[in-house]
């Protein structure tokens, strides 16, 4: 017996699937399952994070409900996956943030935005906050660069530490330690598998979502989101280098690298997250993990808002709206950072770690 119903159900299903194996060629979950005959909670968390929720094994299963064996692998693994985020959260005291995650994220975001607006208003003259600024350093008239860098650096660092601790707990738990220590080869394999979302393709035809016809739309939207996020990250990194190495101060002209990267990334993020959110909305009930809708939606909404406020800032940065928009954008980004370890963001981390382990296991055993 495991600690939760979802784990018990996953254990039952993996026993069914291990006796069947018809889905073996669809994704990484089933070959990893076949290496085991019994399943610890760590094994199940590992398998759950390997699953990309493409839905193929549901439509292909002769034992899916209404069959008495009631096999629904995607839905069960989705619950286990979400529970695993909670189980590995660091510090433990904050694990509860996963319980009503949508609400938690919304509250943190609102508070954070409010804090920036109030902070700007308190520290700046209304004329500065509501005035039009232009030229290098325009942003920093509202908030000094060093203060901004320190605050966001600290928030980012905290997120990294908290997520690293979670990852450590996941790796300790998931799978037999030492059996598949990551090698350069397995890391590279996992980078390639994650980079092209190899297992979100339903074994080749695409994933299923709103109906039984496979499409590749979720994969496309996820690519837009993920690579959009990376581009935004790259934009910030280049800007940081500009600032410290070249002494060039933001805002930059529209044709400069940070703006081009940021605009492309922001657009990708907006289209991608909107697409994913719409797909989530239209997902067939049998494939949905309704209890976790809030968490998924909150994360997508945060990414969308980050991109949208960033884009608005770009377009309106020379107008009097800039001050408020900057506060809005910074508030959202700040909230995104500090909630990263306590929301859907961690799915990427654990899934990647699972892919690394998978590449190691299958290469070595």
């Amino acid at each position: 017996m495991h600690a939760t119903d979802a784990l018990n159900e996953a254990d039952r299903l993996m026993t069914v699937c291990n006796s069947c194996r018809y889905c073996e060629g669809l994704c990484a979950v089933f070959p990893a399952m076949e290496l085991r005959r019994t399943f610890t909670a760590g094994d199940l968390n590992y398998l759950a994070n390997l699953c990309h929720s493409c839905g193929a094994c549901f439509d292909d299963c002769q034992f899916a409900p209404p069959h008495a064996f009631a096999v629904n692998v995607p839905q069960t693994l989705a619950s286990v996956r979400a529970e695993s985020y909670r189980a590995y959260a660091w510090p433990r005291a904050l694990a509860g943030a996963f319980d009503r995650n949508g609400l938690v994220i919304a509250v943190v975001a609102a508070l954070s935005v409010a804090a920036f607006i109030l902070g700007f208003a308190a520290l700046n003259d209304p004329a500065v906050l509501l005035g039009a600024h232009s030229g290098p350093g325009a942003f920093y008239r509202l908030m000094p660069h060093n203060a901004m860098a320190a605050l966001f650096g600290a928030a980012f660092l905290y997120a990294i530490v908290a997520m690293a601790m979670g990852l450590r707990a996941f790796l300790r738990d998931a799978g037999t330690p030492g059996r598949a220590a990551p090698t350069g080869v397995s890391l590279w394999q996992a980078v390639r598998d994650a980079g092209r979302l190899r297992y979100l393709d339903g074994g080749g035809v695409g994933c299923v979502n709103a109906d039984e016809r496979p499409t590749d739309r979720r994969r496309l939207f996820h690519h837009l989101t993920f690579y959009g996020f990376l581009l935004c990250f790259a934009a910030t990194s280049v800007a940081t280098l500009y600032h410290y190495l070249l002494g060039r101060v933001a805002p930059y002209p529209w044709y400069d690298v940070p703006v081009l990267l940021g605009s492309a990334g922001g657009l990708g993020l907006m289209v991608g997250t909107a697409g994913l959110l719409a797909a989530k909305w239209r997902r067939r009930p049998e494939l949905r993990d309704d209890a976790r809708f809030g968490m998924d939606a909150a994360f997508l909404a945060m990414l969308f808002l980050t991109a949208a406020t960033g884009m608005a800032l770009l377009v309106l940065r020379a107008t009097p709206a800039m001050g408020v928009l900057l506060a809005l954008h910074l508030g959202v980004v700040f909230a995104l950072f500090i909630t990263m370890p306590y929301g859907k963001f961690v799915h990427g981390l654990y899934r990647f770690a699972a892919l690394v382990r998978y590449a190691g296991e299958l290469g070595r055993i």
Binding site: G25, A68, E212
Partner: protein, 468 residues
Amino acid sequence: MSAVPEFARRYDTLVVGGGNAALCAAISARRAGASVLVLEGAPRFYRGGNTRHTRNMRCVHDSATAFLTGPYSEEEFWDDLLHVTGGRTDEELARLMIRRSRDMLGWIAEQGVRFQPSLGGTLSLGRTNAFFLGGGRAMLNALYRTAEDLGVVIAYESEVIGLDIADGRFESALVHRDGVRHTVRAATLVAAAGGFEANLEWLKEHWGEPADNFLIRGTPYNRGTVLRMLLDCGVEAVGDPTQCHAVAIDARAPKFDGGIITRLDCVVFGIVVNRDARRFHDEGEDFWPKRYAIWGRLVAAQPDQIAYILFDAKSRDLFMPSLYPPVEAATPGELAERLGLDPAALERTVAEFNAAVRPGTFDHTVLDDCRTEGLSPPKSHWARRLDTPPFYAYPVRPGITFTYLGTRVDGDARMRMADGKPAANMFAAGEIMAGNVLGRGYAAGIGMTIGSVFGRIAGQEAASHARN
């Protein structure tokens, strides 16, 4: 006129059934220009009968491919078929099927079905059999999508309960749907409604009371109604009604539709005893894949149609896992108590077996030299003492896969009437005519080959008949 719009018009081809044979027939008839209605008795989820439970098909191929490890020639296929049927096959039809199977993998793939290398635990089939990516239901889903895209009309929960046939000519079918009866007309009929394995009364006619203890591995919807009606209307029967593919499956499996996951691959690793705790057959006669399908009949012949596979901790992880955990105990006597057997009798059987085991080098991948001496029945290979606790047991019952009685057909998949004349406009494909090729015995993957090859032929022939 019928109240259900799709039943109102007269079709070129009516296909009865919704499995591999039916869909191959429907698609090929439609591609040949016919208007096609498919009547599937089952609800949408259960569409496709036993095809839902399949995983591979056996086809001739000249060289290794991405998912087949080597070539499989027509001659080799023929030899395998001859071997498993003991010669009880219609050579002309069998050779035709084998020849036509060469194009089948390509044709099936064109209909959207995808393949993969053989599944873990089935390496012995990696050269001869192509495995469906995602299994039989994935295969069916692809065929249904293709059929729908081509404009084949598909009606679920539409059981055919009557056939209007006069002088070997099909006129119309009576369909039961939502409590209402409808008459559906078509120029040609393709019967692809499977065997009668889910019809316990019919099984009892041939097997008697023991049939009550049979488990049906696949769909509850293959009740043989269409086969019965065809035979009653003068179509010539083929195959022995007592012949069926039966394996020993976990006795705890549901009565119907337990599928592949209730099978047990551990007979060769232990001993098998009956209700009286006695052994009754050589468990190590030959490699498991070659003996898999005799154990259903063997168990059916035992009192109460039940048996128990016993093994010990040494063998626990040597075979494919299955759905239910084995019954476990520290001693054979305790195991007997858990199973409701006489402990003294089981202990005696185990002791006798252990005493008869000769020393040898155990290797389950070859016909090894671990055997018994002076024991009846002997265990010819893989005999190891049952001496390492815990001891385990699986209770098993006969699991019926499918039946062999069918309709006689010719090379055009056209039914033949009992008076020797070809039927005017009636064709058959799949399990309902498998007895033409399989008089008895079975080789993995042939069920799908029969369905695909004859389904495709039946569809083409029906379409060209209807359009002339």
